[in-house]
Amino acid sequence: MRRVAIVGASGFVGSVLVERLLARGDTELVPLIHSSGNAWRLARLGIPLKAVDLLSAREVDSALAGCSHVVNCSRGDDDVMIKGLGNLLAASRKRRIERFVHLSSVLVYGDPPDPGATREAAPTRPQKGSYGWIKSRQDQMVMQAGRAGMPSVILCPPNITGPCSIYLLDLLNALRAGQFVLLEQGSAPCNVVDVTNLAYGIELALGQATAAATRFFITDDEPTTWQDVVQGLSPLIDNAPPVPAVSREELCRITARAPRPDISIRRSVRHLVSSDVRQALRKDPLWAAIDGSFRRGAAMLGRRLEERLRQWIEGPVRVAVADARPAVNARLCAQQLRGVRHSCELAKNELGYRPIRSTAASFEAFRTWYRVSHGLDSPFWDLLRHLYQAGR
């Protein structure tokens, strides 16, 4: 029987994969978790879970003892993503792992991606420092391991749906708060994959014996639009404000990131002597004394000069523009600008992948889960809803 280590087993995808492989019964599982705090979904199954620090090469190597396959669903800070993956790949090579399945993301193709990113062969061009950039660096490490002889597969899912989907929860919250706008009546393509479909794709990749560090898109393979997604969530929203429609230009404007200011000695000096910084420094008696001397010195200049000095340091008083509309969730809204529908043809041809859940079924399962887990159908919902109103 194959022995599969699932790294990041307590996450959304990892948990579903563990549940599916357990139900199949043809696999010995080694679920590896980062911390017990997030592993409740798996713990309820009564299976042994092993906490592993991916930054410890020794712990990672020990955790893979006896394993024939590895699935990497882990996430973490940049150090964990890069050094942790390095440890995982090194241990996998040492343990002569038969197949390494790495979970990547469509974001490796950039945001927005190259128009040719309907296929996996398109160039990757993530913005430096972005999540897609880190995932792209990970992909390169896995590809390098593949070229060195370790059979590997890289799966690139888009937004993941289904029960417990964080993506759908975020979108639902944004819709409720009036923080979402639709580009061109929602006609833009929305790439989604049901979590069960993705887990099924991973299962196929585990059994695939020929691909070497190939990247595959795994999607629901349906022409879903953002309007479809919004409509899929609308039964969960009471008295929702209508979702405003915006043009491409307007969406670009409202989701544009503020440019980071350039380094400036003058700005830094102003910041250092600003009232915010001096207030924090005054908590220490030495700095309080220095600041007191500074202020007495400034007072000796006379009121007019003191005021001019203050204005030079603090700048003019700024009043923020108060827009009556709530600020949009730029991260979610900007996804509509991606404009590309990723095709899972390669996964269908080479892995034998076929989605086992439709997008409609995925959304219905999400709604069922949401209603039950939040008590919407409970006879006490009329009381519980007061807690949601209080939180707004």
Partner: protein
């Protein structure tokens, strides 16, 4: 001047470092003389982190002669052996909730406390909230009218990860989210209304500790009876709080230390009253609940009065948990099954 209360902190894990040790160090009448943990290095590290000069021991038995009381903040299944050892040596115990991993273990602790004559306090810290005390007073006085129904919920996506990871082992923790999160409200529910007449439980465990559960309760019979529910999750973020329907309106209390009680009268449902006590508060307003709890424990040890949450009350909570489990049914978790054909 009264001598300082000599305290041992047994267990140097998360709750000890996060809550109990800061509470002890903030208490002028308490001296932390020992930190005990089988992993001495962990105990030493905790002492160093707070600059505490204390005896470091692997077993509480090494320091029993040097202490007046012990806070037991270890995995639930270890509470019995540690507490009984303390009590038999005449050392009072403040035991982190729940009292024990099982009713039988809890009973043994309460019995040991009765024999020794030393206090057994249970760490249900939310009982020391001003809002809990005020709610009890107002419900008892009939200020809000007659209770008809109530609902409580608390949910987080993961969270609190004990150093030992014992929370994921059913035997070690004594249960899942019902014990870890729910037991605080169950204790308050017993405090507010006593033991329920009927109850049932749905949870999602399949061999391990449950991650989600919903409990239902009924109090009394006939016209004066009322029902309630309690929902807990370690996978879903739920705004925590208690809502009570009375014949006069809706009472709400969010589940955090300084939350204020609000009341929406039935007669004017678009108006919400914030209810505050103008009386003298039993504790200083800015004193954290863990410090209040410790202060109560030390005072109980010195005056001979029972602590605010004593062993017998802790035992009632364990009885309630076991009664709920005896009426347990499986929660629906196959979310796709309801979807036609699975597709």
């Amino acid at each position: 001047m009264t001598e300082r209360f000599r305290l041992a902190l047994v267990g140097a894990g998360m709750i000890a470092g996060h809550s109990h040790l800061p509470a002890a160090l903030a208490s002028p009448n308490v001296q932390v003389v020992a930190i005990v943990d089988p992993a001495r290095e962990r105990a030493r590290s905790l002492a160093q982190a707070y600059g505490v000069r204390a005896v470091i021991a692997a077993d509480v038995r090494e320091v029993l002669d040097e202490i007046d009381g012990a806070i037991i903040a270890t995995p639930n299944y270890t509470h019995r052996s540690i507490a009984v050892a303390c009590l038999e040596a005449g050392v009072a115990t403040l035991i982190e909730k729940p009292l024990a991993g099982s009713y039988a273990d809890g009973e043994a602790i309460v019995l040991a406390g009765a024999k020794s004559g030393r206090p057994v306090a249970v760490g249900y810290c939310t009982r020391f909230r001003d809002n809990t005390l005020l709610l009890k007073e107002l419900l008892d006085s009939g200020h809000f009218g007659t209770v008809r129904r109530f609902a409580h919920q608390f949910g987080t996506r993961g969270g609190w990860a004990p150093v030992s990871g014992y929370n994921l082992e059913r035997q070690a923790s004594g249960g899942g989210v019902l014990v870890v999160s729910g037991t605080h409200f169950l204790d308050r529910m017993l405090y507010l209304w006593g033991y329920p007449d009927d109850m049932n439980l749905e949870d999602d465990r399949q061999g391990g500790p449950e991650a989600n559960c919903v409990a239902a309760f009924r109090y009394g019979r006939g016209a004066d009876s009322f029902e309630g529910c309690a929902r807990y999750s370690k996978t879903v973020q739920l705004p925590g709080g208690l809502v009570i329907e009375t014949d006069r309106g809706i009472v709400s209390l969010a589940d955090y230390d300084r939350a204020e009680i609000s009341f929406r009268p039935r007669s004017t449902p678009n108006v919400e009253h914030v209810v505050r006590s103008l009386g003298a508060p039993p504790y200083r307003a800015d004193m954290p609940v863990f410090q209040r709890q410790l202060s109560d424990f030390v005072d109980a040890c010195r005056t001979g009065r029972p602590p605010r949450v004593d062993g017998r009350q802790g035992l009632q909570s364990l009885r309630l948990i076991e009664d709920l489990r005896a009426r347990r049914s499986a929660m629906h978790t196959d979310w796709y099954r309801a979807v036609a054909g699975g597709r």
